[in-house]
């Protein structure tokens, strides 16, 4: 599986250039939520922009989300109609191993998903009518690399508290709404 087209990795300058926004004008009914998980299922960042409904408390919600992604990953790896050798259902998969999914849509939201080779999972929830978010997720990943990974005070595997990262993230997500 290919994660990055060669250029987007090389081009990372200090402030990555954003791909064009995919705003659709559905702002009124638009809940945006972003989750970042590391490979152990620890939620590094949870951020929401006008979310209307919270059925569960935050930690339950994050656990459920990680569980859903885990199961959907093994589901798609097993379902893959193109490859002949698919392994067994339910066996944990390495990042990039087997067929993965990049988005799903319900009638009320669209979830876009990206997994980096190091197992960082980015999940973006948007209005169901928005377009493809694969580029946006790559951009958010670049922001993460720039402002979180390169921060010498950041301890890997702990929740992200970088203000610079969240301001840049807020700014970028606004262009998506």
């Amino acid at each position: 599986m290919q994660f990055f087209s060669g250029s987007s990795v090389v081009d990372v300058s200090l402030s990555p250039t954003a791909p064009p926004g995919t705003a659709t004008g559905h702002a009124g009914n638009n809940a945006n939520v972003l989750y970042i998980f590391n490979r152990n299922g620890i939620c590094l960042l949870y951020r929401e922009w006008h979310r209307l409904l919270r059925t569960l408390d935050a930690s339950q919600d994050q656990k459920l989300m990680f569980g859903l992604l885990f199961s959907l990953r093994s589901f798609t790896a097993k379902m893959d109609p193109v490859s002949a050798d698919k392994g067994n259902l339910g066996v944990p998969l390495l990042p990039g191993q087997g067929c993965s999914f990049y988005s799903f849509r319900t009638n009320t939201y669209k979830l876009s998903f990206m997994e980096s080779p190091s197992g960082i999972k980015l999940i973006l929830i948007t209005h169901p009518k928005t377009g493809d978010h694969r580029e946006s997720l790559k951009h958010i990943y670049n922001l993460y690399v720039e402002y979180v990974v390169k921060n010498p005070l950041y301890v890997t595997g702990t929740p992200i508290k970088s203000e610079l990262f969240t301001t840049n993230l807020d700014q970028y997500v606004k262009t998506l709404i």
Binding site: K78, D80, P81, S83, S103, F104, T108, Y109
Partner: protein, 141 residues
């Protein structure tokens, strides 16, 4: 070329009641298809819980690297889903047609027991015709 790889029908409690393969690579045995079906049933339910707004009725489209999965849930909770090539159009319409065939040839069959695996000759026959028609239409587009 197969536009549609497979079709699943699951009952309201997550049991697989119909499965047909239209040429996907690699063998999937009965156990695997049953487990995939019940896994999909729970994924569908969890996706409703995670909705950021009210009135969510579960996953309609799942886009993966090598396939698209379109799902249709009837009012009674029976789920129909097709696995097809990425970017295949008009799958919602096909699912509605399959649902229609299900009501006509399965539910109206006096020998069919509710929630049990579908073994109806007329349904099989009309289903393969519908899929064939969809393929012809696809070639025409």
């Amino acid at each position: 070329m197969a536009a549609i790889y497979s079709l699943f029908i699951i009952n309201k409690s997550g049991g697989l009641i119909f499965y047909k393969d239209y040429g996907s690579a690699g063998r999937m045995d009965t156990n695997d298809s049953l487990r995939l079906a019940s896994l999909w049933h729970s994924m569908h339910a969890i996706s409703q819980q995670l909705s950021p707004t009210t009135g969510c009725s579960g996953i309609e489209l799942l886009q993966a690297d090598t396939f698209d999965l379109h799902c249709f849930q009837s009012l009674t909770g029976t789920k129909f889903f097709v696995v097809c090539e990425p970017g295949t159009l008009h799958m919602e319409a096909l699912l509605k047609v399959i649902y229609e065939l299900y009501t006509d040839y399965v539910l109206k069959n006096p020998f069919y027991e509710m929630e049990m695996p579908i073994r109806c000759e007329l349904f099989d026959l009309n289903l393969s015709q519908a899929i064939q028609k969809d393929r012809v239409a696809l070639l025409g587009r």
